[in-house]
Amino acid sequence: MSQAFRIGYGGLVNRDKKLSFKFNGKSYFGYEGDTLASALLANGVHLVGRSFKYHRPRGFFGAGVDEPYAIVQLYRNGETEPNIKATEQELFEGLEAKSVNCWPSVNFDIGAINNFLKIFLPAGFYYKTFMWPKSFWYRIYEPFIRKAAGLGVVSTKHDNERYEHKYEYCDLLIAGSGPSGLSSAYAAAKNGASVILAEDKPRFGGSLLTSDVNIGNQSGKDWAEGIIAELKTMPNVVVKNRSQIFGYYDHNMLVMSEKVSDHLPKTKKYHPNKRLWYIRAKEVLISSGSIERPIVFGNNDTPGVMLSSAAKEYLKVYGVLVGKKPLVFTNNDSGYETAIEFKKHGVDPIVLDSRKNPKSEIIDEAKNLAINIKNSYVVVAAQGYKKVKRADIASISDDKKQLGKIESINCDCICVSGFWTPTIHLASQSGNKTKFKEEIDAFVPGVSKQNETTLGSANGVFSLDETLKTSFAAGSELSKKITKNDNNIAIPNVVEKKSSQHDKFWCVPLPKGKNYKRFLDFQNDVAVSDIEIALREGYRSIEHVKRYTTLGMATDQGKTSNLNGLQLVSEIENKVVPAVGHTTFRPPYTPVSIGAIVGREVGKHSKPTRKSPMHSWHEKNNAVFVDAGVWLRPRFYKRGNETLFEASKREAKNVRTNVGVCDVTTLGKIDVKGPDAAELLNRVYTNAWLKLPVGKARYGVMLREDGIVMDDGTTTRISENHYHMTTTTAQAANVLSHLEYYLQLVWPDLNVNVVSTTEQWAGAAIAGPKSRDLLQKLFPNLNVSNEGLPFMGYMEGDLFGVKARIFRISFSGELAYEVNVESDNGNFMWEKIMEVGEDFEIQPYGTEALSTLRIEMGHVAGSELDGRTIPYDNALEGLVSKKKDFIGKRSLLRSAFTAEDRQRIVGVVPLDKKTSIPEGSHLVKDAKAPLPNPKLGHISASCWSVEYDNPFSLAILKNGKNMIGEKLFAMSPLKNKVIPVEIVSSHYVDPKGERVRS
C-alpha cells in the first residue's frame, strides 16, 4: 500500500530508508525516523484500537507522551510488550504491532455492545454493577470484564532483555530540550557546570521543530541543532535523547528512563534494553513544555479528532497529512498555526474560532493566505463511526450558552486546540505548591520546596522571547552560584508572531434533543455525564470524583483530561478552579517498564551468593545445596538414588554412631577486643561473663530490650582481651549492628572494638563418638583427652602445617569439636579431615541431618528463636542471671512473661509413631471443636529421630511446663492432617547431656 497521506517533500524523516512493518497482520511501509503512529497515518490508517469501557473506535489524538488512545501490543525480536504508545514507538524494520482492547478484531468488536448498554456502565460502575448475585461474579462478570477490558497482554515468558541502573550526579539537570531547556543548558554549560540535558523524544528541540520562528537569524530548528551540536562537544555536558525523567523524589533525586534499544529491531549485544538513571542534581530546571488541551464536544472521541498541535507535528516532522479536508476548531491562535501549515502544503482547511473578533499577526497571516475562517463558531458533534466524515457545526452566542442553527460540513479530520496546559508534573512531585494562573486557565508551579525552577511554557510562559531571556538567565545564575564562573552569553534575537488572548471556553453545550457523548478522559471513557452523576451522587472532593469516575486514572494520567475535568466540576459546583484544586501528581509521569525498575537484580543477581571455601568439594561429592540466607549450604550428600529423607537419616545416624563432619563456615563470627570486652559481653548476654578464663568457651543468649531472644551462640576467650563470638547464620549482621549501637551510643565509655570475621574463618564441626580419636590423629601433638580439652574448652593447634583453632562445642549433642582455619586453608582442612577420618567411617553431613540432630536433642535454633519467645519459652531460663543487669532484663518482669501458664518448649511424638507432623501445625485439645479452634501452641521443627526411629517434633506450647504426658492433636489444615500426639520433654535424646561431656 502506498503512503497516500505522505506529502512529497519535507519533514525530518529519512526518505532514503524505507522500512516495512505490520499492523494487525497487514503490511505497510514507512520511513526511518517515523513513529508507528506517523507511519500508520501516512498510510491512512486512523483506526488503531477500541476504548477501555465502551469499546468505541479509537484513532490518534496526540503525537507523543500525551497520547490517550493509540496503545498497542508490540512484537519485537520474539518478545511482546503491552501498553506501548504508537506515538512514541519509533519505527524499525520488521516492527509488528496489534491493537489492544479489541475482541475479536479492531473492525468488529463485540465489546462495542457496551456502547449500547451505557446504562450498564455509568460512573462508579465498578462499584455499582456486577455486585449481585454473588455467584455470577466468578463465572460471568469477571471473565467478561477481563476479556473485554485491558491494555494488552503481558508476556509470561522470561524476559531475556537486559536492564541497567546508573547513578549520576550533576550540577544542573534539565528536563526537556525545547527552547528553554536548550537555553538554560547552554548558559550553564558555558559557565562550566556539569549538565545533564534529557529529552524524551528521539529528536532534540521540542516546539522549535514545529514552530515558525527565528532565533539569531536562523530558523528555530537550525538554532536548536547548532546548540545541541555544541553541547555534545563539551566534556561537562551529557545530552540524552529517548530519555524520560519520570519521577522527582526527595533531596533532588530524579529518576530517568532511557530507551536504549526500543527503536532497534533487536538489542545490540552487551547493550541494555533500557537504562534507569538515578540522578542527584544540585539544581533542577524543568522545561517540560506544555500539552495542548482539547475542547469538549459531541463524539469528540471519533478517530480523526485530534489535537491541532499533533496535526502540525505530523506534517512538519513526518511529512504526513492527518487529513485532506481538515477542520480546525480553536479558541486561541495555535489552531491558526496548524491551519497555515495545511495551507502551505496545498490543503485547504476551515477554521472555526469560538472567539468573536480576534486580532493578531498569526490571524492576519491566515487571512492573507485566504484561509476560510468562521468566528463565533463551534463544532457541536463529530459524525462518522470509525472515522470522521462530517462535523455538525453551529454559531455560538457571546455567553457561549446558545447554539445557532446546526449545519453539517464535510471533513476528514477535526484538529482541536483549547489552549495549553503547562506540564507541571515534575514540579508538583517535588513538593512545589502549584497555583492557578487565571490568564492561561491552568496551574503553574508556585513556591519551590526543593532546588527546582520551572521555565518556558511549563511555567505558563508562551512567548519565545521571554522564554529565552528567562532561561538563559536561570541557567547562567544557577550555574554561577555553583561554579563561580560568569561567561556572560549574549541572548540571541528572536523573531516570532505575537498572539492574542485565548477564549476561556472549553465545552460545547449539547444542542436541544441530542445526547452526544462528550468525553473528558479519552482513555478511561469518562464523559461529561459521568462527572455530573458523581457530583449528583454527592462526591465533592476532586480526589473522590477522580476515583469514582476513574477520570485521569488511566496510563496517560489525564494529561489531556485533568483540566477540563476540573473546569466541569468547578462550573457545576459554582466554584473557581483553584478552589476545586487538582489531584496529586505522582510518579511515574509516564509508564515505566517493570524490567527497567528491577534492573540487573533478577534471578541469581537479586542477592549475592555466598559460598564457603569448601564449596567445590561439596559440589564434587554430590552435595544438594539449600539457600541459607545468602549462603549456599549442603543440605545432604546424595548417594545413588537416595532421597533427602534417606540421605539425611544415614548422615545423622552416622554422627550418632561414628563421626560426621559438617561445614559450619556460615556461622556469624565477630571479634570482640579491648580491655572492656568482658564487661560488654556481660551486658549483652543474659548469663555471667566476667569470670570466663582464657581458653574457655561459653554458650550465651542475647535479648532485645523488650525481653525477646535475639540470638544465641558460643563465645570463646582467645586471650586476655580478645573474644571470638559466634552468632547464628541469619542474625550475624543484626548482632554486629546491635553491638555497635551499644558501644557507640549507649556505653561509649566501654573500650571495646567489634569487627565481623565471618569470612576470615572456615569452620568444620566434627561430631560423633569417634570424633576425639579423629581429632587426636589430626593433631597428634595435642592433648585432646577429656582432661586436656574438656567440654567448652579451647586450644590452638597445628593442622599439618596450618594454624587451627579448636573449640570443644556441640550443636548435635554428641561429643563434638569445631575446627577453624583461615579461609584460604578451608579446603585443605576439609580434605585432611576426610582423609584421616576414613579410618573412623567419617561421612559429611548437611543441614538436614544437622537439624535432625539438634531437634531430637532439644537444642533451640531459628525456628524457636523466632522473635516471639523469651528465654523461659526455650527452657533457657537457667542462663538468665539473677544478679547482674543486662540488655532486656527489666522486660522479663512483665506479667505476661512471668505468667504461670507461660508458653514453653516441649517435645511432640505422634501416637502412631509413624506420621510426621508438618512444621507449623497447630496443637489443639479437641480436633472436632467448632472453628476457631483454640490454639494451644505450634510445631516449630520436625525431624525423624534417628535415635528412636520415629517422628519427633519440637513445639512452643502454652503452659508447656505442665503439659508433659498430655494427649493433644496436631492439626495442619494446609496439609489436611489431624495427628493425635503426646507431649514429651523437649530433650528427647540424652536429657542429662552426658555425651557432650564424655
Binding site: Y249, D250, H251, M253, Y741, Q744, P748, D885
Partner: protein, 89 residues
Amino acid sequence: MLYINCPHCGMRSQNEFSYGGDASVKRPELNKEVSDQEWDDFVYNRKSLRGKHLELWQHISGCRQWIKVERDTSTHEIFRTFKANEEVA
C-alpha cells in the same frame, strides 16, 4: 531517596543507611530501679512526631557509625547531622 550528610563520610544516599528510631530516647542506667512506666516509655512509647525529629541512622554500608539526624518527618528536610557522641544543642 534521602541524601544524608554522614559526619564521617560526607553526603551519601539513603540506601547506604539503616534507620534506628528516635535518638532522644535514653536507656535507663544499668542496675537502676526502673518503674514499669519508665521502662515502657524507653522500650515502646514513641511520639511519632510530625515535624522536626532527631533520629538515629547507621551508615551500615559505609563507616558503620551510628549518627544522629535532625529531619522533618513531613517534608523530609534534613537540618543537621551529628556524630554519635556529639551533644545536640
